[in-house]
Symmetry: D4
Subunit: 252 residues, 8 copies
Amino acid sequence: MYEDKLKKLLNEYKTGELDENELFRLLKLMPFEDLGWVSLDHHRAIRSGYPEVIYCAGKTPEQVAIIAEKLISAGNSSIMATRADISHFEAVQKLVPDAVYHGAARMITVCRSVSEAPALPVCVVTAGTSDIPVAEEAAVTAEQLGNRIERVYDVGVAGIHRLFARLDTISSAGVVIVIAGMEGALASVIGGLVDIPIIAVPTSVGYGANFNGLTPLLAMLNSCAAGVGVVNIDNGFGAGWMASRINRMVLR
Amino acid sequence: MYEDKLKKLLNEYKTGELDENELFRLLKLMPFEDLGWVSLDHHRAIRSGYPEVIYCAGKTPEQVAIIAEKLISAGNSSIMATRADISHFEAVQKLVPDAVYHGAARMITVCRSVSEAPALPVCVVTAGTSDIPVAEEAAVTAEQLGNRIERVYDVGVAGIHRLFARLDTISSAGVVIVIAGMEGALASVIGGLVDIPIIAVPTSVGYGANFNGLTPLLAMLNSCAAGVGVVNIDNGFGAGWMASRINRMVLR
Amino acid sequence: MYEDKLKKLLNEYKTGELDENELFRLLKLMPFEDLGWVSLDHHRAIRSGYPEVIYCAGKTPEQVAIIAEKLISAGNSSIMATRADISHFEAVQKLVPDAVYHGAARMITVCRSVSEAPALPVCVVTAGTSDIPVAEEAAVTAEQLGNRIERVYDVGVAGIHRLFARLDTISSAGVVIVIAGMEGALASVIGGLVDIPIIAVPTSVGYGANFNGLTPLLAMLNSCAAGVGVVNIDNGFGAGWMASRINRMVLR
Amino acid sequence: MYEDKLKKLLNEYKTGELDENELFRLLKLMPFEDLGWVSLDHHRAIRSGYPEVIYCAGKTPEQVAIIAEKLISAGNSSIMATRADISHFEAVQKLVPDAVYHGAARMITVCRSVSEAPALPVCVVTAGTSDIPVAEEAAVTAEQLGNRIERVYDVGVAGIHRLFARLDTISSAGVVIVIAGMEGALASVIGGLVDIPIIAVPTSVGYGANFNGLTPLLAMLNSCAAGVGVVNIDNGFGAGWMASRINRMVLR
Amino acid sequence: MYEDKLKKLLNEYKTGELDENELFRLLKLMPFEDLGWVSLDHHRAIRSGYPEVIYCAGKTPEQVAIIAEKLISAGNSSIMATRADISHFEAVQKLVPDAVYHGAARMITVCRSVSEAPALPVCVVTAGTSDIPVAEEAAVTAEQLGNRIERVYDVGVAGIHRLFARLDTISSAGVVIVIAGMEGALASVIGGLVDIPIIAVPTSVGYGANFNGLTPLLAMLNSCAAGVGVVNIDNGFGAGWMASRINRMVLR
Amino acid sequence: MYEDKLKKLLNEYKTGELDENELFRLLKLMPFEDLGWVSLDHHRAIRSGYPEVIYCAGKTPEQVAIIAEKLISAGNSSIMATRADISHFEAVQKLVPDAVYHGAARMITVCRSVSEAPALPVCVVTAGTSDIPVAEEAAVTAEQLGNRIERVYDVGVAGIHRLFARLDTISSAGVVIVIAGMEGALASVIGGLVDIPIIAVPTSVGYGANFNGLTPLLAMLNSCAAGVGVVNIDNGFGAGWMASRINRMVLR
Amino acid sequence: MYEDKLKKLLNEYKTGELDENELFRLLKLMPFEDLGWVSLDHHRAIRSGYPEVIYCAGKTPEQVAIIAEKLISAGNSSIMATRADISHFEAVQKLVPDAVYHGAARMITVCRSVSEAPALPVCVVTAGTSDIPVAEEAAVTAEQLGNRIERVYDVGVAGIHRLFARLDTISSAGVVIVIAGMEGALASVIGGLVDIPIIAVPTSVGYGANFNGLTPLLAMLNSCAAGVGVVNIDNGFGAGWMASRINRMVLR
Amino acid sequence: MYEDKLKKLLNEYKTGELDENELFRLLKLMPFEDLGWVSLDHHRAIRSGYPEVIYCAGKTPEQVAIIAEKLISAGNSSIMATRADISHFEAVQKLVPDAVYHGAARMITVCRSVSEAPALPVCVVTAGTSDIPVAEEAAVTAEQLGNRIERVYDVGVAGIHRLFARLDTISSAGVVIVIAGMEGALASVIGGLVDIPIIAVPTSVGYGANFNGLTPLLAMLNSCAAGVGVVNIDNGFGAGWMASRINRMVLR
């Protein structure tokens, strides 16, 4: 069992049998937990600084709850589940009572210890109101990973003065996540105005020749402003994760 | 022969045998001129206010020259040829000495009478310098159709202050033609700033996931700003033609 | 609060403290109203001649009703909501009793003052009966913006005599909106017959290799008739808006 | 050797050893001629009424000449080669002196016996002048297969009166081949006007969102007029072949 | 009213005031019937030999029933409706009691007079059992238009001996309609085996990289066998219509 | 009747009237069983070593049950049905009581005799847990065809140590089936690590720019590791079938 | 240096200091040779049974020659280079005089020792003559890897009797590689006729809606015959490699 | 003139008439330099920390040289030009003698002052040797912007031990740029191994179903490893720019 092995190693570390470097080397080699239908990657927390994130789409509430419980039992103090609906949450809550549900973001989080946040916040900007679910997924993800969040919503280029009114907030962030559907022009406009790493998230908001987000995806990849990295359509989680990796560099 | 018929009709009109309405009715029914390889549409000038435009791509210099000469012989005072290279021009010039070549626009024009221009100009705006050939095609087309032109080039959103500096010029036009490649965001930004009919022209400027202009085409069709009509990729001529139709409405 | 600021400015204008130019300059700078989940762009009426239009898709009836009420409170005499179903309307009607529902167009309108209409109507043409919902969205939009409308429905090219029977109506309009699914040939045919600005709207009517409107979209963009501007698939609203911008030019 | 076998069979037929049915049965089973790099299908003339057609693209002039010579030696009185340039023709002419080159159609033909033509002609119609090479490939193919041809070129819908002027010619054909690039609307318009089998050929004429003929291909497949069969982009040969199969049905 | 006009014309024809040619000329000019939401094309029966076909998708049962009744009242002895479900049929049956429902084909027909059928049948071939609904639409359409039908179902190339067992039936038809999903190879195989006009119908049968019929559509357009005309995905009706046009040529 | 013919042939074989070669030749020519709506290919078991597989999608439970019963009556000792839901199974079970349902694989099997398995197993590997249904379809198919199966699930490249931990299992297989959605990188990684035939199955697991499996399909086709053959998206059955053909070669 | 290390290891093995297992374990860990611009993977021969294959496209003749020489110096007795033109060969030949150029396959090979071939050959089949270059790449690759080759060229389904005439050759192979452009139907037809592992290679032969091989690629992936694995368009090398992996299984 | 204005401002700053904040505010408002065909954005250096980068594709050597000279005259100490061929460089060198040409990267740089580099390098990784030009564009860009560079080339997943051998170098970088064509799997593999911001650049290396880089683009966007931002195909410059923005955050 993974947990026993873990305890033994930690004990040896405490008694001095293992030094820190050796402990970490062994932890990195420790295999995953095989539940038959899932290979739970317990040492991801060591490798990447955060335990494996649960992607709920296509999993039953029970499966999600079991994985959540296993991760907590393995000693992780924080966990995150994305694309969760309320039934996933209710199943998790039974096993992990301090789990929290974020409705707009469709996420479940548990947070038992808070790491120090970098001085600068991650700023999450949306073009319209329909982009907010994706934005919240990004925001909750980055917050859970230990960043302060600034939200600037509904400032698309059809009424560009709304953007300029919030430009100070945007330009004082450590990283900016720009979330837009339709033609996705907001990423280019912000990319031309601020000198900060920008992560662009196309959303499937739109109709007709929008092709479920293909149009803003292509537009963002072709941005005339340099320094814009793009993630998959509606992938708020990926954007929040990358934003955190960037924003927390100052703490390395 | 078309020309003989035409002369006869005009004569009858002069002597009063035909009144103006009847003359026009007959002219509208008059068949085209069949050169074997081309059905020259001589009464397009009557139907649409301008003679048939010669599309030079795929035609030999000699073919273009013959068509140009036929159109002039049929009594048209203005003609236009698009996608013309210098060899097309040289062949035309031999038969129609007052033809003019517009290098950047790749167009040949003949203009023997000038119609009154509307009070407001057509404003042609580009995002970058590589969009200029398409812009010039639009500008020369609209000018040839009797409009004043304002050119505002290289004001893409990567340096949006350049756009704001020229906003007065743009917002005092009758129609705005916005020409952009890459992600085509400029059309949405201008569409959100001015309350004027906007014609958007995507260009094939860009690389990779630009897909030869598909990206700005899709972006412009999905513009979050209402009131933007889109024409084909690199279709400066179509934009200039539509702009003129709109701009000259005040003279109807 | 936006409303208080607005009242103060209007008062100062009444008392002569502010002249008209200064009033307008300040209004243009006035920020939007931030409802948390939406940045309501109150001065769009000043910038573009009409208040922000409510796009109901993805909004709850309550959200639509609140925005509608806010726009009316801000002093707008007309408002428009698109992609509205009957439940959106019922919620709006509780707060704005004189709201009207247009079932075929799926729109809600309020109209408390009527602006002068241009002499020429906007003509809305469809190829088939299935295109009518999109056509009605265009017609109601252009009407709400102060234009007279002529409807010419079900005149597709499979029975082209139906089109010729209505050609007089079409050719005496100020702007023509052509709405077609399947192969979208109607736009090219009308574009070759009349010398009027044409806005083409592809619809998602069709099946198989129609690809939800991609085929008529591409066909319209490649129209062999010049002077055709295209909007997004099923975008009746955008077509009506652009038609109004064009048609009302004579009143500038 | 194929030729020896053939002679033997024909001899036995002449002497009465073989009756006609048995002769044909044996011919149908006769294998092809294996040149190593090509499996020459000698009995296609029996199976399909015409010998194997040589597709020259990607073959050397020498390869084409050898195949042509083999087909003639095998007793065929007619042969056809498509996508041939002048060098292919020159090589063929050395071995088959009565070969004819059709420049516009890029075809080589040999015709040593003429079969009876059906009463009605095949009518080949194009939208523009750039479609003529494809049209000529269709026309020469159908002619070579024993049909009279009517050519109606450059009658696209941008000047629809040109089409109506030629409608009598079109509607008195046995089959109509409609060839168009750009948006391909001509197929639908003719399909709605005449009650004759129509074969539509999209061409790669156009630019930008035409995507090398994809747009007219899709448009023709979605034609609102029933009874239109479509062949591959620029496939004049296929259209001519199918037209002949249809047109010659009355002779079966 | 259309019906009154029609009666008057037919009366004049009976009394000899109109000769047949003139009657037909006038009928061809007679306008359609405008029901507000539909421009009913009453003289299509004269122009194309069959009254307007009702496409039920997107129409209410009541709309279909009204159109059916109008077509019958206008004197047509046959009518056809496609993509009809049972509720459409029930509504039609109330107004037109002799209407017949074809469940597999999803069609409604009325047939009050039978025209002479050509000697050769139309043969409808499918690759699999899932292609049968499309095949039945083609078969019922061609039968209703006065052709005998031969059905050869489930003979795809994965078990090619089934095809060879039925080859005699196929090769003695006047026209062959080949219907296949998945990779659509059957059209090419039959095209190489028989010398008869072939209409290929791709179906949306398949999954994954089939892309709802795009794969067999492309395959059929690229068939290595000449003489194959393709119609839209799942368009059994169009195939049946074209097959009838071809098959009935011998009766012209 | 097929069964009678079969019995007669087998009898003649028993009595020595037929030798084995002749028996097989006749069996290969025996026609299929025509149920009207399906051409049941009874001698596929002889041709390909396994009776026709029933694809349940789009078939009623009754149709599936009838086909299953016919295949059993024809003397097959094993049958397989794919894309079966529980209602298909229940109908089959009534007629064939020893049928087995595999829920995860959505398959029905009957297995009355077991053929010898090759020494090496077929190894089925998945990148994630959502790929398991496709994996089970592959595994049950290959097992039913007489192979031992090794399952290695949820070892995607995001936690590549999980893959290395199972590499011994993978590299000792006869064939490896790699099943992955998202970006499909697992196929390339395994392809670079082992020298065994690899069949890659892209799945429709993913969202946004995954385009329902198009992305892993393209990735697998472009694998930088040679020796990877790809089947259709989600086509576990095809992969299992091909794997068995390869794995059982040693028994030929 | 790699070569020195190699010699030392082999010496120790000869003297008994290293046993075979240990030798192989060390060889597997031996790093690649870093030429600065290329990380030459010297132990691929051990891992995969054949040294790294040189892909010449985009490499200069000199680069190819250096890599070839390095591979030979490292003790490999066979090397292979694909997509090589004659200039690549000439450069290689100067350094490796026994290199052989295969013009049709565009390959360079060196073969200094011949491994035992399996009893069954690899059969390479093409639909047309234009597919031969891809076929030769597959054939030379599989031959170089120690397999006998049978070539069956130009047997496409348009003349299916040519295929049946060669069916005995095809059905007695160990693996069949089917190479086809246009609609790629040949893979399905062969897949339905033989019970042997089939590798399908789509080629870019075709035009128009063939889209450079996309059509046969999709068709092959959707083959109605099970047991077909597909490789990238024109990827003869990949097909030959996979065929060899499969065919040589009997020698494991 | 821009330069005069600049000097005046700088003088006032020196004399104390302007404080630093005011100087910067004014500089930010200073308009661009209008050369007619280009709006040179002189204050980009202030806004984004680096002067406008010259994109040479589609510009003449003379145009590039003039822009380079203008940027230097405006006081910039560093400039960069991308997609430059040797002729662009030669023209620049005449006006700016200390310009440097980077052949592999196709870039021109001038560097007159060196800013402090962050402690951690930017690591540029490629899958193959053909990806090196894109990698060099990224490397030279990031270096020019003040970062140390580590190059790890040709470590694609087909020989994954090469990657592991260099993992220490990769995991000690501040940012990793992963450049890959074909199936682009390398980005996912590295993304699963290190906890550092990753920028993925798909390249157009590959053929067939690679579609000029579309395949790795889609694969990278769908990476199963979180925290990967993607830029346009072959966009080494954009990747280098974004990497620098991220890497230099520690200096803010």
